[in-house]
């Protein structure tokens, strides 16, 4: 059987009309479902002109919502970064009992609805919940306050860094670490000079996704938020409130920030993916040369 060169190039021998149809459908679908709504956000945001758009950002509650979002992401992302590196290090480099369980648990926030994660905190820290009375007696407020928002954000963004690093570290194995240790490096040096440089792009990639989710989360924070304007409203909650007030220009102006964040994440993500790919190719090449 002979395969002609053109088919190899395109990777298929389907007739032209099949290819055109499939491509048209996917492009049309992406345009309709993704590009159009994104366009609408910016169109609506600027509908009453640039001044109306900028005015939306001068509102005290808008500033507070942006601060709240940055605060929640600013705490959740570094914590999940530390946890993610520690967990993937443990999972990829060591064998221990309950490893499978740990991997499954890391995935838990992916598997359950964000609303449920919010409700869990109500059940645990609410006045009718397990620790509610104790916290009350000690004057600690968790839900309907800033700590609740941060906890809920940490919960939903929990898996992002770890999930990104586990396969990467498993693939890399621990030979390089062994080599470093046999050359007299201590654990800390091994981590900073061998492990971390190897996974740095993966870490960045995980952080990027984690951050995007932390800033965009609606369901979980909506449950634990006090719904006070200028209080615990994060950006997505503020957008919802503005929209319900028939204040659509301000709502879409705020939404445009989140949309921009999405675009930046997307660009950063594809750049990092390219970087990751190059890295794995070059490491493969270096391994091949070592063998030969």
């Amino acid at each position: 059987m002979s395969v002609n060169a053109k088919d190899l190039q395109t990777g298929s021998n389907d007739p032209l009309w099949v290819r055109t149809t499939v491509i048209t459908i996917s492009v049309a679908f992406v345009a309709l479902m993704l590009v159009l709504p994104l366009g609408v956000i910016f169109f609506e945001a600027f509908r009453k002109g640039l001044t109306a758009y900028l005015k939306a950002f001068q509102d005290r509650n808008a500033v507070r919502a942006i601060t709240m979002t940055c605060l929640a992401a600013g705490i959740a992302v570094p914590l999940n970064l530390v946890f993610g590196i520690a967990a993937s290090w443990a999972i990829a480099k060591f064998n221990f009992r309950g490893k499978g369980l740990l991997i499954a648990l890391i995935d838990l926030p992916f598997a359950i609805s964000p609303v449920i994660s919010g409700l869990i905190y109500i059940l645990v820290f609410g006045m009718q919940g397990w620790f509610g009375k104790w916290l009350e007696a000690h004057g600690i407020q968790i839900i309907f306050a800033v700590p609740g928002i941060i906890l809920a954000t940490i919960f939903v963004t929990f898996p992002f860094v770890a999930r990104e690093l586990i396969p990467l570290m498993q693939e890399q194995g621990s030979e390089e670490e062994w080599a470093a240790i046999s050359l007299g490096a201590n654990g800390w040096q091994t981590f900073w000079r061998v492990t971390l440089p190897n996974i740095k792009w993966g870490v960045l990639y995980g952080v990027l996704l984690c951050n995007a989710r932390a800033m965009g989360e609606f369901g979980a924070v909506s449950v634990v938020s006090s719904n006070i304007r200028g209080g615990t409203n994060t950006l997505p909650l503020h957008i919802d409130a503005l929209y319900n007030d028939y204040n659509s220009v301000a709502a879409f102006a705020m939404a445009s920030i989140l949309a921009l964040l999405g675009v930046v994440t997307l660009v950063g993500k594809s750049l990092l993916e390219r970087k990751l790919e190059q890295e794995s190719i070059s490491s493969l090449e270096s391994k091949t040369t070592e063998v030969s």
Binding site: T67, C70, L71, G74, I75, V77, P78, L81, I122, F125, G126, M127, Q128, G129, G132, E136, Q141, I143, F144, V146, W192, R193, L196, P197, K200, L204, S226, N227, I228, R229, G230, G231, A241, N244, D245, Y246
Partner: protein, 366 residues
């Protein structure tokens, strides 16, 4: 060095998060000489605009009277959800919700509010009232004038789910009251034990009317605001059952070229109540100011502002003729004309499976 590059990435992140922390802890700058008190009013969705303005008026009044500053935070959401939040520990000094049942739930489940809360302020602790009216498409093409017109062929009715929304329960009970009144000629027969047979027959007819009505509902939204959005923004349905104040607000925000308001000859008197959350107010040292806040709702200025935001004030004498003309005249019946209170309303109408709503709604869909 690689290590440095990585540090350059992590360190700012950590610093950033620390800055965030310290910012949130910065104390409120108070002016010297006078105290600044904070109040939290936990309310439902449609009152947002009213309370924004009332809070400013009250702050000014309190400052003049006592020399102290009072800052009032507002929290808005679905009435039932807000009641739940207070039950679970949201530190409200004041609740102002859509129905007495929601405040009663807080009082029943916790010791935050006294059991006799509804007698602490005049008029069942409801400083303003509202009623349920219809919004129809411009020109009223389906000719909807009264509750009976809602079940005409081809009419689509938008009303939220009475099991999840406070406003939706008023809609439901308004229609129920209309149906009973149509059968009995007067709602007084309901309390008259000698007319039991007659009343039972009327209830059966009213149930079939309600079943018919909810067959005309294409989308059962979760809350009043969501239903308003369905009707106005998504242009679904011929008539929206809604609070009078919401109908006015929708006009103001969206213009009168798309919809018009129809006031039926008879509807329910909706009494959104208020209460001081005593235990929280005690802990915050705000008992006095919280009570003054609620009393001020009954003052001339409070009533004027309520009317401005399309809530029917309790004291009509405080209104100008112009303001009075805003509110159409209609016969209003009370919740207590139909049932003894929200407990009974819940038990008879909205309870899972055995309630009238579940019976008629499930039966329809079979």
């Amino acid at each position: 060095m690689t290590v440095n590059r990585i540090n350059a990435f992590f360190v700012p992140l950590i610093v950033l998060s620390l800055i965030g922390c310290s910012n949130s802890n910065s104390p409120n700058a108070g002016t010297t000489g006078s105290k600044t008190v904070k109040l939290l009013n936990v309310s439902y969705d449609p009152t947002r605009e009213f309370y924004s303005e009332f809070n400013q008026a009250f702050s000014k009044h309190w400052k003049e009277k006592t020399g102290d500053n009072v800052e009032i935070d507002q929290s808005h959401g679905g009435s039932g959800k807000q009641a739940r939040a207070v039950t679970e520990g949201l530190k409200a000094d004041i609740v102002s919700l859509a129905l007495a049942g929601d405040i009663a739930t807080i009082a029943k489940q916790t010791d935050l509010i006294e059991g006799d809360w509804q007698s602490k302020f005049p008029n069942n602790s409801s400083p303003y009232t509202s009623t349920i009216v219809f919004l129809v498409r411009k020109g009223n093409p389906k000719g909807i004038k009264d509750w009976g017109d809602l079940v005409k062929n081809g009419v689509e009715v938008i009303t939220p789910n009475p099991k999840t929304g406070g406003g939706a329960r008023w809609n439901y009970l308004a229609a129920w009251g209309f149906a009973l009144h149509r059968e009995l000629g007067s709602l007084e027969a309901l309390k008259d034990s000698s007319k039991k047979a007659e009343v039972d027959a009327a209830i059966a007819k009213a149930k079939s009317f309600m079943g018919d009505l909810y067959l005309h509902v294409p989308v059962l939204d979760a809350s009043a605001r969501a239903a308003t959005n369905t009707f106005i923004q998504r242009s679904i349905g011929d008539v929206l059952l809604t609070w009078e104040n919401e109908a006015f607000l929708a006009f103001k925000e969206l213009g009168t070229d798309q919809v018009e308001m129809v006031v039926p000859p008879m509807s329910i008197l909706a009494e959104p109540p208020v209460a001081v959350v005593s235990k929280n107010a005690q802990a915050n040292g705000t008992t006095e100011v919280a009570n003054a806040y609620l009393s001020y709702l009954y003052s001339s200025e409070g009533q004027q502002l309520a009317a401005k935001h399309y809530y029917r004030p309790r004291n009509n004498d405080l209104l100008s003729d112009e303001q009075k003309a805003v509110f159409a005249k209609l016969t209003l019946f009370q919740l207590t004309d139909l049932v003894s209170g929200w407990d009974e309303a819940h038990e008879v109408h909205f309870k899972d499976r055995t309630g009238v709503f579940d019976q008629i709604y499930q039966a329809d869909r079979k």
